[in-house]
C-alpha cells in the first residue's frame, strides 16, 4: 500500500474529465474519483507505507489527508447537484464544465500532493498547482467581479508563493551545512532529525518568509485580501473547498516549518508571531463581518476569523493548545463547508447572494433553513457541536497562562458571534423575503458534515483523541 494512488487517481480522472463531454457522466465520474481517493486515504490508515524522499505519511499529515479527501468527496457530491442548476440557469456552459471538472480533480491533486510531500520543494510546487487551479476556478464565471477576484487572488497568491519559495530556499541553506548538499536537505524526515543543528539566524529569516508566504494562503490578516472575494465570486463548491481544504493545506505547511523552528533551540519561538497574526485576523475579521452584504463573503470572513483562532491556538502550543488547534481545524473545515453547501442552495433559490434579499428561510425552506441555522450556531462555537469543544480548550487553557490574550480572544469571539447571529437571525427568521421556490438540494453532504460535527461535540472517539494527542506532542 502506498500513497501514490491518491495522486494518480486524481491525475487520471482529470485527464478523463477533460475529455468527456456529457456533464452528468463527468459529474458522476468526479464523485467516483473523489470517493476512491477517500477510500485510499482510509487504506493509508490501515497500513501505513514506508516514507521515501518524495512522499511521507505520518500522524500529522494523515489527519489532513483524510479530512481533505473526505471533504473533497462530499464537495464533489454537492457540486454534482449544484452545477446541474448552474447549467439550467445558463451561468455555465457544458464546455466550461469539462474544464471545471478537470480542474476540480487537479485541485484535489495539488492539495493531496502538498499534504503527502516529504519534500519542501515538492510541497511548494504542489501548493502552487493548487493555487493556479483554484484561480481559474474562481474566475470561471467571467463576470467583472469574478475576474477581479481571480486577478486579486492570483497576484497576491503568486507573491505569497514567491515569498514561500524564498523561505524554502533559506531553509535548504540552513540545512545544507548539517545534512549535506543533497536531496536530504529538502526532505522533511531528515530535516526534522537534524533541525537542532541548523543555523538559527537563517531559520528565523526563513520562517518570516514562510509565515508571510503560506500565511497569505491561510488568509491571515493583513494578507487576507484575496480570500473574501475569491470565496464570494467563485462557484460555491470551490468556496467550500477553499475554506475547507486549501486554507488547511497552507496551514499544514506552516505547522511543518513551525516544527523545524521549535526543534531548534537557537531560533526565535514561532509562537508569538503566530499568536499576533492570529489575534489580528480574529478581531479584524470579527469587525469586518458586520458590514457584509454578500452572504458568501461574510462566511469567507468567518473563515479568516477561524484561521485566526487556529493559528492562535497553535501559537499558544502546549498539549492543550495544539490539541485544540487540530480539533478546531477539523471542525472548522467540516462545518464551514457544510455552511457553504447550504448557502449555495440558498443562493440558488434566491437567485442572489445579497443577504438583504434573504429572509424567513425556516418558514419557506425548513430543512435548508434549520440546517443553515444549526451550522452557523456550530461555527459560532455553541454546543452540542464540536467547535465548542475546541474553543472551550483554546480559551480556558490560554486564560490560565496568558490572561490578557485569552480576554482578547473572547472579545474577538463575541464580536464575530454578534455579527453572525445578527445576520443569521435576519436570514433564517422574520418575514420571508425573496423568491421562495422549491429547491433541488442534496442534503446528504450537509447532514453528513453536521452529524460528524455533532458527534465530535458530544463524544470524541478514543483513537482519534490519542492520535491528536500524539500529533499535539509532536507539535510541542
Amino acid at each position: 500500500m502506498t500513497a501514490l494512488p491518491i495522486i494518480l487517481i486524481s491525475l487520471v480522472a482529470a485527464a478523463l474529465l477533460a475529455a468527456i463531454r456529457n456533464y452528468r457522466l463527468s459529474a458522476n465520474l468526479n464523485v467516483l474519483a473523489s470517493l476512491v481517493s477517500f477510500l485510499c486515504a482510509i487504506g493509508l490508515l490501515v497500513s501505513r507505507p514506508a516514507n521515501n524522499q518524495y512522499l511521507l505519511i505520518d500522524d500529522l499529515n494523515i489527519v489532513f489527508i483524510l479530512l481533505n479527501t473526505f471533504v473533497g468527496f462530499t464537495t464533489s457530491v454537492f457540486s454534482a447537484s449544484y452545477i446541474a442548476h448552474e447549467l439550467e440557469t445558463g451561468r455555465l456552459t457544458p464546455g466550461y464544465l469539462r474544464f471545471y471538472h478537470a480542474m476540480f480533480q487537479l485541485m484535489l491533486l495539488g492539495m493531496n500532493l502538498a499534504l503527502l510531500a516529504n519534500n519542501i520543494g515538492l510541497m511548494w510546487v504542489a501548493v502552487e498547482l493548487a493555487t493556479l487551479t483554484t484561480v481559474v476556478m474562481v474566475g470561471i464565471y467571467r463576470t467583472h467581479e469574478a475576474i477581479e477576484a481571480a486577478w486579486k487572488y492570483f497576484i497576491l497568491g503568486s507573491v505569497g508563493i514567491a515569498l514561500a519559495l524564498f523561505g524554502t530556499i533559506l531553509v535548504y541553506l540552513a540545512a545544507r551545512p548539517v545534512v549535506g548538499a543533497s536531496m536530504d536537505a529538502m526532505v522533511w524526515t531528515s530535516l526534522l532529525a537534524h533541525a537542532r543543528g541548523f543555523d538559527p539566524a537563517l531559520l528565523n529569516i526563513a520562517f518570516v518568509f514562510l509565515l508571510l508566504g503560506y500565511g497569505t494562503k491561510v488568509g491571515l490578516a493583513p494578507m487576507h485580501a484575496w480570500l473574501p472575494d475569491a470565496h464570494a465570486e467563485g462557484p460555491t463548491p470551490i468556496s467550500a473547498v477553499l475554506s475547507g481544504l486549501l486554507l488547511n493545506v497552507a496551514l499544514y505547511a506552516l505547522l511543518r516549518f513551525k516544527l523545524l523552528l521549535s526543534a531548534n533551540p537557537g531560533a526565535i519561538a514561532p509562537g508569538p508571531l503566530m499568536i499576533g497574526l492570529g489575534l489580528l485576523s480574529l478581531i479584524f475579521a470579527g469587525f469586518m463581518l458586520y458590514r457584509r452584504r454578500d452572504i458568501k463573503r461574510m462566511f469567507a470572513f468567518s473563515s479568516i476569523e477561524h484561521m485566526g483562532i487556529i493559528v492562535f491556538a497553535f501559537g499558544m502550543a502546549g498539549p492543550l493548545g495544539n490539541f485544540a488547534g487540530l480539533l478546531q481545524m477539523t471542525m472548522h473545515s467540516l462545518t464551514k463547508s457544510a455552511i457553504f453547501f447550504s448557502v449555495g442552495h440558498v443562493a440558488q433559490v434566491k437567485g442572489t447572494q445579497r443577504i438583504a434579499d434573504m429572509g424567513g428561510l425556516t418558514e419557506t425552506h425548513p430543512v435548508l433553513g434549520w440546517a443553515l441555522v444549526a451550522s452557523v450556531l456550530a461555527i459560532a462555537g455553541l454546543p452540542p457541536f464540536g467547535v465548542f469543544t475546541s474553543e472551550f480548550l483554546v480559551v480556558s487553557s490560554s486564560f490560565a497562562r496568558a490572561p490578557l490574550l485569552a480576554v482578547l480572544v473572547v472579545f474577538g469571539l463575541l464580536v464575530s458571534f454578534g455579527a453572525l447571529l445578527w445576520r443569521i437571525t435576519g436570514v433564517a427568521f422574520g418575514e420571508p423575503r425573496g423568491p421562495t421556490g422549491p429547491v433541488k438540494a442534496s442534503y446528504l453532504p450537509i447532514f453528513a458534515h453536521l452529524s460528524l460535527v455533532l458527534i465530535a461535540g458530544i463524544w470524541l472517539p478514543g483513537p482519534l483523541v490519542t492520535w491528536f494527542q500524539h500529533v499535539a506532542a509532536l507539535l510541542g
Partner: protein
C-alpha cells in the same frame, strides 16, 4: 574557492541589484521592459556562473530558461501587450522616484543587516548572494507596490522572482532548482500570456488596476 570566482559571482549579484534600482528609476514603460530584459540577462549570467563554479550542470538549464524565457520572451510578450492594448506609456508612480530610490536603499541595508548574523559556516558566497537576492526580492515588491499599472506590476513581480532564482542558484548544490524554476516559469507564463489581461481586454479598455478595482464586490 578561488578568490576570483567569488568576486565575479558577487559582482553579478551586485549588478542584479543595480538593475533593480534602474527598474525603480524608470518611469517609461518601454524602457522599463528593456531594463527587465537586462535584469533577466544579468540573472542568467549569474546563474550560469554559479553553475560553473559549483559545476552543477542543472543550473545551466535554469540559466537558459532565464535567458530565453525571461530575458527575451517575457519582455517581448509584454511589449506586444502594451502595443496591442495601447497602454499609455508613462507609468504613474505613487510616490516620487527619489523617495522610491531612498526606500530601495533602505531595503538593501535592511537585507544586509538581516543577513549579517548568519554564521560563517554558511560560506560567504551563499551569504552575500542571499543578502543581495533578498534585496532584489524586496525591491521587486517595492516596484509592485509603487507602480499603478498592471504591466509594470508584472515587471516588478518578474524581478522579484529573479531575486528568488538568484537565491536558488546561490544555494550551493540545491536539488530541484531546475524543477522549481520551471514551475515558477509556468506561473509567469500564466501571468504574462495573461489570460487575465486578455479577459480584461474583453471587459475593460485599460489594464490600469484602478479600473479593475472599480468592480469590487459589495460596492453599490
Amino acid at each position: 574557492m578561488p578568490h576570483l570566482d567569488f568576486d565575479i559571482a558577487h559582482m553579478l549579484a551586485g549588478m542584479l541589484v543595480l538593475a533593480s534600482f534602474m527598474m525603480l528609476y524608470q518611469d517609461r514603460l518601454y524602457a522599463l521592459l528593456r531594463v527587465l530584459a537586462l535584469h533577466a540577462f544579468v540573472l542568467a549570467c549569474a546563474v550560469a556562473w554559479q553553475a560553473r563554479i559549483q559545476d552543477a550542470p542543472g543550473l545551466y538549464v535554469t540559466a537558459v530558461i532565464a535567458l530565453g524565457f525571461k530575458a527575451i520572451l517575457a519582455p517581448w510578450a509584454l511589449h506586444r501587450i502594451v502595443v496591442r492594448l495601447g497602454i499609455h506609456r508613462e507609468i504613474e508612480t505613487v510616490v516620487g522616484i527619489g523617495v522610491t530610490m531612498l526606500a530601495g536603499m533602505f531595503l538593501v541595508a535592511l537585507s544586509l543587516k538581516v543577513m549579517l548574523p548568519v554564521t560563517a559556516h554558511a560560506e560567504p558566497v551563499a551569504r552575500e548572494d542571499i543578502a543581495l537576492a533578498l534585496s532584489v526580492v524586496l525591491i521587486g515588491l517595492l516596484v509592485m507596490v509603487t507602480r499603478r499599472n498592471a504591466v509594470s506590476q508584472v515587471v516588478g513581480f518578474l524581478s522579484l522572482e529573479n531575486g528568488v532564482d538568484l537565491a536558488a542558484a546561490g544555494a550551493q548544490g540545491m536539488p530541484l532548482v531546475v524543477e522549481l524554476s520551471v514551475a515558477f516559469s509556468v506561473l509567469i507564463a500564466f501571468i504574462v500570456t495573461g489570460i487575465f489581461l486578455f479577459r480584461i481586454r474583453e471587459r475593460f479598455d485599460t489594464v490600469d488596476l484602478q479600473a479593475l478595482d472599480r468592480f469590487r464586490g459589495e460596492r453599490g
